[in-house]
Symmetry: C2
Subunit: 186 residues, 2 copies
């Protein structure tokens, strides 16, 4: 896939994205997306979630295939470790979001990436989820993402790339700002 | 796995969890966990993250196996849809967290579960991530989780089960409250 007419090719189709922006500017309703997952309890703390469809551009959309994910608690919590923990899924989402952004912004800025890796760590005092201390929150006390990026750009330009990805990242926003969640039983 | 001496068995070892609580009450340092993922950019908006180790109970811990996850953007964003989108990973995390909680609380309250399914939807105006309107946030405008639960309990008891799971859920907290995220480039 050739992304632009420059020799820089990170595999991101910037022209298509710019076209989409133009189209959505004239049709803001089409920008309203709904992302979904369906979850089925298996046994104990083990559940399986599937992701296959979403709504956007005014109509139902399908992923190329159905993605399936097992979540569980680890053996140190007396569980069977049949999948990553729910909080690790959040870290995977954040890493994937920022990394996609790095590639997209690099393409837009005509910076050729050679490799991008990140480690991501979330600290948590599990006395929160165990209900042992009401001063301890259930979630992460903080998250740290560390990138190593090999690219045709200066260290400052690479830092600016990551900063811009953060600025436009959906998952970064979801984690750093509050979102209203409604839970119902039918 | 027999969880308690009651006939109720949701596959959750409540006795072990109560034992862990007691142990952590005397050793709060052991409650400090660090969850991790490592992410490698593939091409375009496609990345692969792996989850294999974490820190907790004062030492390095290993999952039973390495879990690997592909994240990508969908074809409507001019990407190749090589995996679920990063925001769908967040929904998977939330669904898995609340569902594990439902099973654990049900076991504790001696409610036998027969089936638990959930659908989870996150609304998003993608003009945010496209940088088209600074009044539109990048993340979800709201998330709705809908449970269907078949269990040996009254509708009110089932609702209370879900409410208690929400109260102790790590991912629910992560999404509904702000968390500090530091992003560095090395």
């Amino acid at each position: 896939m050739t992304a632009t007419e420059t020799p820089v090719n990170n595999g991101v189709n910037v022209e298509a994205l710019l076209g989409a922006k133009e189209a959505l500017a004239g049709a803001p309703e089409a920008a309203k997306f709904t992302w979904r997952a369906a979850c089925a309890w298996q046994n104990g703390t083990h559940s399986t979630s599937t992701v296959d469809s979403f709504f956007g551009l005014g109509e139902e959309q399908k992923h190329r295939t159905t993605y399936s994910f097992d979540a569980d608690h680890p053996e140190v919590f007396a569980s069977e470790d049949n999948g990553a923990t729910p909080v690790e899924y959040v870290l995977v989402g954040l890493a994937g979001c920022l990394t996609a952004g790095v590639a997209a912004v690099a393409q837009y800025r005509e910076i050729q990436l050679r490799s991008v890796t990140a480690t991501i760590e979330g600290d948590m005092d599990v006395r929160g989820i165990l209900g042992m201390d009401s001063d301890v929150r259930n979630g992460f006390s903080s998250i740290k993402v560390t990138y190593e990026i090999d690219a045709d750009a200066s260290p400052d330009d690479i830092k600016a790339l990551v900063a811009q990805s953060q600025k436009r990242s959906a998952v970064y926003d979801i984690i750093t700002n509050p979102t209203n969640v409604t839970v119902e039983v039918h």
